[in-house]
């Protein structure tokens, strides 16, 4: 049943992936140049505003990754043949998403240190970010529970659907949190940052670059996961042989 789905996956050495990789590298270089040299310093924040070109794209692409995970999971559950490939895509996307969300946390903390003088503040969005991060760490833990590959796929697909409805729930409830009461404590200059054209362009460009990096990583990670599954299936053959030998009296 699942044998066919775990045969050796197609190679990633296709023109598309290679080009994606190239674009990702070039894009990163351009983004670094834009961010570090061409964009202006911020009036208030000085040079530290340059963190934004990593911070914001990683956050948004992490959201994207989680949504993609959910889409793949729904596809897995709806599909007649329960494609393990969709499941692996979901897993790969969540892994990359967790990494990006982690990057958001790290860059945010560093930025916070520079602009607020502290690594952490009890801002709603920061708290949201932590909850989401933990949620998807939990999702990855569910993937690691063991069992057959189809079991893993089914379980984690359902958990992914639960997790993704948490994104808006967590997001809005925590935003409402302050808005109902005192709001002045929010230190972060949300929309207040005046953006000139180049800054805005760099930000959008950053998002694009990180999206390409995301796609590239997911493609490769997906292949690795497929290989891991295939290796697991091969391991079964050896285990079967050993098991059969048990019956032979010594």
């Amino acid at each position: 049943m699942s044998n066919a789905q775990t045969s050796v996956p197609p190679p990633t050495r296709t023109a598309t992936t290679r080009n994606l990789g190239l674009i990702a590298i070039l894009g990163s270089v351009v983004l670094a140049l834009l961010g570090l040299f061409f964009t202006a310093e911020d009036v208030v924040q000085g040079s530290s505003v340059r963190i934004m070109y990593v911070h914001v794209p990683t956050a948004w692409v992490a959201y994207l990754a989680f949504v993609f995970t959910a889409v793949c999971s729904a596809g897995y559950l709806r599909g007649k043949k329960h494609s393990l490939n969709l499941d692996r895509l979901a897993g790969a996307s969540a892994e990359v998403g967790v990494i990006f969300m982690g990057l958001t946390l790290v860059t945010g903390s560093l930025w916070g240190r520079l602009s607020w003088g502290t690594y952490w503040d009890w801002d709603p969005r920061l708290t949201t970010t932590v909850f989401l991060f933990v949620t998807y760490v939990g999702y990855l833990a569910v993937r690691g529970l063991g069992g057959t590959q189809q079991q893993r796929a089914k379980r984690s697909a359902i958990v992914a659907l639960f997790a993704v409805i948490e994104i808006p729930l967590v997001h809005f409830s925590v935003l409402l949190w302050r808005s109902l009461h005192q709001e002045a404590t929010v230190l972060r200059p949300n929309g207040d940052v005046r953006m000139d054209g180049l800054m805005l362009f760099s930000l959008v460009f950053g998002v694009a670059v990180f999206t390409v990096i995301f796609a590239w990583l997911v493609l490769h990670r997906n292949r690795v996961l497929a290989l891991v599954d295939a290796v697991e299936m091969r391991g079964i053959d050896a285990a079967l042989a050993a098991r059969h030998a048990e019956g032979v009296p010594t």
Partner: protein, 237 residues
């Protein structure tokens, strides 16, 4: 009105007849992984309706796993398994609805009394009070025992309660893992009668057992599990 066959309600027989064209159990090259260990390693087995099959084999050979596979409790890694015409991989609910299973554990709630356990399970499967009372009586559960918390019963009394629960269930395929363990001599005889009656009423019974003498007299067929495979399959006795 449904007439009883050997003490069992007629509806069992009816529901069996719906799928009588195919084998009750049809397992082919089944591989079941527990962790990464192939507890069943390409096992192949066919059981026809009305058989009383005794499964033997060394400790760890895979008897329990075979029964759990037939009950749709463990996933299949490779091969095929059809039980009562339903695919165990894709249509577990249908399989489970018609299977009665008694494992090494009793599946009872220790905090509830034996009577409460029985009536919970009968509520769940929709059995009547009289069926419950009959099953309890059959397994020798006195009023005193029925009102004692299961956690306080002796090992054999627990097993008897579990068997009563099993008997209340309207299963067309009975899967029992060492049902004799812990029972006294009259209890063992009672089980044998229970299983024979079930077969007479049209059910199919698979019993894993280490008691070779006892099972020899009970079985219509004996099979042996060795190293995760069914290697030797005796003919009908």
């Amino acid at each position: 009105m449904a007439k009883d066959v050997g003490g069992f309600p007629r509806r069992w027989v009816c529901s069996v007849s719906l799928v009588s064209e195919t084998s009750v159990v049809d397992v082919r090259d089944a591989v079941v992984l527990l962790g990464s260990f192939p507890a069943l390693a390409e096992a192949t087995l066919t059981i026809e309706r009305g058989e009383l099959v005794v499964v033997q084999g060394a400790n760890g050979a895979g008897k329990t796993t075979l029964l759990r596979l037939c009950a749709g409790l463990v996933p299949l890694a490779r091969g095929t398994a059809r039980v009562m015409g339903h695919d165990v991989g894709s249509n577990r609910a249908a399989v489970r609805a018609n299977v009665g299973f008694l494992g090494h554990a009793n599946g009872l709630y220790a905090d509830l009394t034996a009577g409460e356990n029985l009536s919970f399970w009968s509520d769940v499967v929709g059995a009547s009070r009289t069926e419950v009372a009959a099953a309890a009586h059959r397994m020798g559960l006195s009023e005193r025992l029925l009102s004692t918390q299961v956690g306080r019963l002796s090992a054999g009394q627990k097993r008897r309660t579990a068997l009563a629960v099993m008997a209340v269930r309207r299963a067309t395929l009975w899967l029992l893992d060492e049902p004799h363990a812990g029972l006294d001599a009259p209890g063992r005889d009672e089980i044998d009668t229970l299983l024979r009656d079930a077969v007479a009423a049209g059910a199919t019974v698979v019993v894993a057992s280490h008691e070779l003498e006892r099972s020899a007299s009970l079985a219509t067929r004996r099979i042996e599990v060795v190293g995760g495979r069914i290697v030797e399959s005796g003919g009908h006795s």
